[in-house]
Chain length 195, copies 2
DNA sequence: ACAGCCATGTAACTTGTTACATGATTTT
DNA sequence: AAAATCATGTAACAAGTTACATGGCTGT
């Protein structure tokens, strides 16, 4: 939702045309994530469908200015007055991946941790070294750096937990809590050998 | 992609039927994110379409066992041997929101920071207090806690940067880097008053 | 003339997510 | 007998993302 909401928030400052919105989003996020132009127009049409923006006539240069509606402004106000709530939604890809890896037999979670640490360290280093141009870029870079550092701390913690927990792997076929029925049926053709 | 990949990784241990997969995903992620059952079947059909899994015959209980293909196993191996790369993709909703808020005139970024800090603090507190049952749940809770703490550190940093940078807001209509053409056209009907 | 950017748009697609229909089995 | 859970599936949709087509304008 962040692209959609950001475009709406920019439009709340005054009408803009598509390309302009792309540029504004770009500046305000420190050119960190470049939007494909097509996405702007898609998003605008969806916002229009939802009654949050309206499409103006094209001016002499052919620029199509979009303006926010009252419902749109209300939505922006709501967005800026409420915090981002993590948890229910917001799945952390790395957390899922490593948790799954750590609980599956036959997967080398240690190797994954080392590969990830190397990646996250490189990322943190490059974020610390690269100078950020402007406030927006600096804010985004800070967020990314802090997040990479948290990732590294977490990786250490996971390694520690795994070393304390020698029997971490939860077998698929041995699970007591498994819904019903015994072990998986071996399929002849392409199934890989179960552990 | 994490749900899709996780289901594939579980299937790499041996054939499973839909409900079973849901249960396995649930256990391995500490019951943190409960999947709607329908999503399992959707995902399985898409994996089948992509040649990564195959559908077996139903057994006497009517359970439809799915098995991984060679291409699927290769994909799992690839997944577990490569780190999660943040940056290009992986947009941080909070970072975008706050960066946009901080660069738009007329938006009270300070209030947003305070609201977010209160939310993130509550979250961190509840993660620290709630006991985690089992390794998977503990790992996921750690990840969430570290991430919430990084968020709090970042909010402090943003507040500091904003206090150093009194002229942070970037006006839409005053921007020199703006693509072309002068100020936005005022639309008569529903446009909110631009700042 | 040609390359390249500005600008608008369309079509197709991905993953995730929900609501719903249907029936079997199990529990109370 | 009723309620709950197990189990499979379908249909629809949201948001993001990309590739492509089309033109105008600008600079070399």
């Amino acid at each position: 939702m962040s692209v959609r909401q950001s475009l709406l928030a920019i439009l709340d400052q005054g009408p803009c045309y598509g390309y302009q919105l792309r540029h504004e989003f770009d500046r305000r996020t420190g050119s960190t994530w470049r939007l494909n132009v097509g996405q702007i127009y898609n998003t605008l049409e969806r916002l229009e469908r939802d009654g949050l923006v309206g499409r103006g006539e094209a001016d002499e240069q052919g620029h199509v200015y979009w303006h926010i509606t009252d419902a749109g402004s209300a939505e922006v106000a709501r967005w800026f007055s409420s915090p981002v709530v993590r948890g229910e939604a917001a799945r952390d890809e790395l957390a899922i991946k490593l948790a799954v890896a750590a609980t599956l037999p036959g997967v080398d979670a240690g190797a994954l941790i080392r590969a990830q640490r190397s990646e996250s360290e490189a990322r943190a280093r490059s974020l610390r070294e690269a100078p950020s141009d402007g406030l927006a870029a600096a804010l985004i870079a800070d967020a990314m750096l802090f997040s990479a550092e948290a990732e590294l701390r977490w990786l250490d913690r996971v390694e520690q937990r795994l070393s304390e927990h020698p029997h971490h792997a939860i077998g698929v076929e041995l699970s007591a809590e498994r819904p019903k029925r015994g072990r998986p049926v071996k399929s002849d053709s392409t199934a890989s050998s179960p552990v």
